[in-house]
């Protein structure tokens, strides 16, 4: 119920638009409660900026419970901040200490151009999805759901890949700004299920081709993507996609 007592220094990336130069700007914040979420701390700061008639910091956020994939901040050099397995909106101020200086930047990748401040354009992911991230089944054509028995382990593995929230932390973490973890998670979800097998060849080829067209970098297996993924999407997916891609090229 009380406000807290943490005093912090924030260094935040401000950039008016994609066409203009950006810079880190320093903002002190006071009386931060350890029970606040990181984004609630931004709310406090923005409220202060509004009261001074300055433009608040623009950042993407929506569900604030770690599932929509909208929030996207690089905090002290790490996508989604210092804790593993969570998104920016799930990070709480108890993870920081009184007097800390915190540097906040947008996702950095050529394929994710900055729109404003901490907001970037991730529409490349959408275009990759439109090339094959689906099973081509029209509404109304499906048979009874239990006509396709699926081994629990396969269903679970497929679910684990499908848990990707499309936030783009994998791209932001990668020194090559590669989107392999994102694309491979979608390819894997379907590759592991009988429903996805029919279009497997076209799917992997088309999605990978679009990924390259978008300007995402190559994968050099550093594993930074897996380490920073808030949903624990595994590198195994990349191996699986490489296998799918190899097979697809032999088949066609």
């Amino acid at each position: 119920m009380s406000t807290g007592n943490m005093n912090l220094t924030l260094r935040i990336w401000r950039q008016n638009s994609g066409k203009e130069q950006g810079q880190l700007v320093t903002y002190p914040v006071k009386d931060i409660s350890p029970d606040m979420s990181f984004l609630e701390m931004f709310d406090v700061l923005n409220e202060q900026l509004v009261s001074k008639n300055e433009n608040p910091i623009v950042f993407d956020h929506d569900c604030r419970e770690g599932i929509c994939g909208m929030c996207s901040m690089v905090i002290n050099g790490r996508p989604h901040g210092p804790k593993s397995g969570i998104t920016t909106c799930q990070l709480h101020m108890r993870s920081f200490k009184e007097g800390d200086t915190i540097v906040v930047e947008p996702w950095r990748a050529q394929a994710f151009p900055v729109i404003k401040d901490l907001t970037v354009d991730r529409s490349g992911f959408e275009r990759i999805m439109a090339k094959g991230g689906f099973v081509s089944v029209n509404t109304g054509t499906a048979q009874d759901a239990n006509c396709i028995p699926i081994p629990k382990d396969d269903a679970d593995a497929s679910f684990n890949a499908a848990a990707c929230i499309g936030c783009g932390a994998c791209v932001a973490a990668c020194k090559n700004a590669s989107a392999m973890l994102f694309v491979s998670a979608k390819v894997s979800q379907f590759a592991l299920l009988p429903q996805g097998k029919i279009e497997a060849v076209a799917r992997v080829k088309n999605m990978v081709a679009q990924m390259d067209d978008e300007g995402f970098g190559s994968c050099t297996n550093t594993g930074a993507c897996e380490a920073e993924c808030p949903k624990g999407i595994s590198l195994e997916n990349i191996a699986r996609m490489n296998r799918e891609y190899f097979v697809a090229n032999i088949k066609q």
Partner: protein, 659 residues
Amino acid sequence: MSKLDSKIPEGAIEQKWSKYKSSAALVNPSNKRNLEIIVVGSGLAGASAAASLAELGYKVKVFCFQDSARRAHSIAAQGGINAAKNYQNDGDSIYRLFYDTVKGGDYRAREGNVYRLAEVSNNIIDQCVAQGVPLAREYGGMLSNRSFGGTQVQRTFYASGQTGQQLLLGAYSALQRQIGLGTVDMFTRHEMLEVVKIDDKARGIIARDLVTGKLERHFGHAVLLCTGGYGNVFYLSTNAMGCNATAAWKAHKKGAFFGNPCFTQIHPTCIPVSGDHQSKLTLMSESLRNDGRIWVPKKQNDTRKGNEIPEEERDYYLERRYPAFGNLVPRDVASRAAKERCDEGYGVGTSKMAVFLDFKAAIERFGKVQAKKSNIENPTEAQLKEFGKQVVEEKYGNLFSMYEQITGENPYVVPMRIYPAVHYTMGGLWVDYNLMTTVQGLYCLGEANFSDHGANRLGASALMQGLADGYFVIPYTIGSYLAKEIAVKAIPTTHEAFVAAENEVQSQIDKLFAIKGTKSVDHFHKKLGKIMWEKCGMARNEKGLTEAIQEIRVLRDEFWKDLRVTGKQNEMNPELEKASRVSDFLELGELMCMDALNRSESCGGHFRIESQTPDGEALRKDEEFSYVSAWEYKGNNTYEMHKEDLVFDVVHPSSRSYK
């Protein structure tokens, strides 16, 4: 009253929908290519509708305010989706799902609609599995089910605690496929700000590009609003930050009646408020009530930690009051029971506004089963705990870690603290059986409409309704309307109606910037939320509601005198977006209070203190209030109420008992 025709087909309830489908007008494929449909919102209802309509051959445009259709708040639904598959052989049927839903809604929903919902529920599961949605399975490869509040069968399909995410990604995939095929134009980071009407028919929208700030005009032969609920009128809710009522409210002011605005669902199991900085509340899935037990200390103002209070000093008040349903009573009942205990001084935690949700018994029970499975004869206490914890972790792991992340407490050791929070709005735009509002050609789907849940929604029914509307209802019902529109050529957006609508939006934006006051948007939003929560929340009475209406009017005046919107229009400007949304909430909030004031009965989530049984249960007044209140906007914040009488041919309203 003649203004409301629900258009429920004649005939026996089991045959209404199939008869409708076989007699509805059709549009031939070559005409479909020339018909344009606008879909606003890309959650379960919007994405499924857009994909299905595009598959049929219509030209579709989809708008969402997020940067991707996949981010709509359907994504956050945790628990599951109901369907009457009866895969568990436990006596489920379409009729039972229909019956439970009508009863769960406290007899304030339309029978015809609910029956159709139950009927198509099975198709939804089939469709999702065919799309590759990885629903939970048993070792034999078949789909798994669990039970949910308000029912006694296991009919809920799920994907861990991320069912909404997986179903939305299924619908989103179908939508992306159509985008790739060129049949859908997707407009992300766009917000609809006005409906365009020509000759009394909806013919398009005005939308603002949230990146450039420019206003755009878009034509459609029909417009579908799939824009979700208005829970954020309370400021604190389980909704996403961006959830808003603007599209529905603009449509309301253009002639669409608003149905049952006061019907709000307060979800019993949310993480309690931790301070004034709080920006939103997080739900803990209702599925936790399957295995968790809810209790408070028997002693008032007990400050001990939950795990330090011995068994005999605990009051499992739901099991005590409702032995038949226990912890699985419907949401409205569970929420009020928690409020009652806290109001009486038995609440826990620093705020004293919380109750415990405890997995101790479940961990012990699972531990014993697991030990048996592993052939361990005399397991130690520690072994049992470890086994039990593993099972709980597999079932609810993501929810437990979410809880720990937010509160800093380990729920495997200390019982969770929970408290009710605003979660869902059963009210919404009034629609007929076709899902058409009172404006011709303007449809409303999913949570945004009022139709299927009556006064209280049962768990795992929101996903079902959103997808039913989008995949299986609108593709049929829209044909009845568009079959008559095939001669209408696309109307150029230079038409005077588009110009006028854009000018209206522009002047509203100018007005917001012109105030140049001193207070932020959030300042007003928080104040509105406080009024709504205190006086139009879990318990309402005449005095409070009358006061709330006055207070909201005063607050609205202050808003228009003292609001500060920073920045400019022609740039990405979240403050402007919020200001526009809050200006609508400030009007909708008043209407909610008016509706709650009018309905002087208790039903479902709407609890009027004046109307309760001697033991504190909700007291319905069927003779007086067995109707849908549908409000018509009359200009200048005045409204006229119309009634759609509810007729129950099949399920006869009785007092809802979960004892």
